[in-house]
């Protein structure tokens, strides 16, 4: 079983209200060392088989077709240890 994780965040410079609210919450709790917070989404995918290269190409297609809105979002793909 191959596992992959897509991490999606708003692009730098695009308004990230959740990050802003979480940041002000952390500051309210005294965590003033935090300089910036960005909140994103995690999408975990499981595949029966496939090499990381093949899967990366397939996942990139899924991102451009559906999972990510390229106007406002960036993403990174990670491969997780096999279960």
């Amino acid at each position: 079983m191959q596992r992959a994780r897509v991490l999606i965040r708003n692009k730098p410079g695009v308004f990230d209200p959740q990050g802003k609210v979480v940041h002000s919450g952390l500051r309210r709790l005294g965590h003033e060392s935090v300089q910036d917070v960005r909140v994103g989404k995690v999408i975990d995918l499981r595949f029966a088989s496939g090499s990381p290269d093949e899967l990366r190409a397939r996942i990139e297609r899924m991102c451009s077709e559906f999972l990510v809105n390229p106007v406002i979002e960036d993403y990174t793909i990670q491969f997780l240890d096999e279960e």
Partner: protein
């Protein structure tokens, strides 16, 4: 005139649109279901407001891959008039039929109130009955209506006369105080380059009869008949 109103799971303004089109404007209406692969033969398509597919992933994202949207895209590419209201606007953005994307309102709240919007172009089939600069009072009701495009795309929208409505004060001034959600350049509605596809966050169908205390929105629907 025959109009198709597209219904997704989670649409909730389709009956309001139907009511206005049939009983106020006198058009005939057919519903198109999200699973349909073809549109009935119509003169105009309406994508109503609501929370299609529960706004999962992103507002409008799951609707864009529904079978009916392929047919709607073909209708739009052939020049057919398409209007997306609120969630319908979000669907049009996700489909790429209109440029840009929606972010959360800058207040982080769901905003439900009357706004003033100024007609910034009367070249679309939905604004041909309005005059340039005319100010309408229309209600909004959304959490994700903070319209975003990058600086280059904003210039393209301006250069190509694609900004259709801007949030303004009652006397038509587009200032920050009149911006209910943080939309760039106070944008409330945009069209494609050709002008036949319009997306707007305010709900003209909720303000189209005197009995509701506001009939300004009827002019948008009446414009379609005027154009066709």
């Amino acid at each position: 005139m025959k109009v198709a109103v597209v219904v997704f799971p989670g649409s909730n303004c389709e009956r309001d649109c139907e009511h206005v089109l049939e009983n106020v404007i006198g058009a005939s209406v057919v519903r198109a279901w999200h699973r349909d692969h073809e549109l009935p033969k119509v003169d105009c398509v309406v994508l109503p407001g609501g929370f299609s597919y529960g706004d999962y992933l992103r507002a409008g994202a799951v609707s864009k891959i529904s079978p009916i949207m392929k047919a709607v895209s073909e209708f739009a590419f052939s020049g057919g008039p398409v209007i997306g209201i609120c969630n319908g606007f979000q669907v049009l953005l996700e489909c790429g039929l209109l440029p840009g994307a929606m972010l959360r309102n800058r207040s982080l709240r769901f905003v439900c109130k009357d706004t003033f919007v100024r007609c910034a172009t009367e070249r679309t089939p939905f604004t041909s009955g309005l005059s340039l600069g005319e100010v309408l009072k229309l209600p909004i009701a959304h959490a994700e209506g903070n319209y975003y495009v990058d600086a280059e795309e904003l210039r393209a929208l301006q250069d190509n006369d694609q900004i259709v409505f801007q949030y303004t004060s009652g006397d038509g001034e587009a200032n920050d105080g009149a911006n209910p959600n943080g939309s760039i350049f106070n944008i409330a509605g945009v069209c494609n380059r050709a002008g036949n596809v319009l997306g707007m966050m305010p709900h003209p169908e909720r303000a189209a009869e005197d009995v509701l205390g506001n009939s300004g929105g009827a002019a948008l629907f009446a414009s379609i008949i005027h154009t066709l």
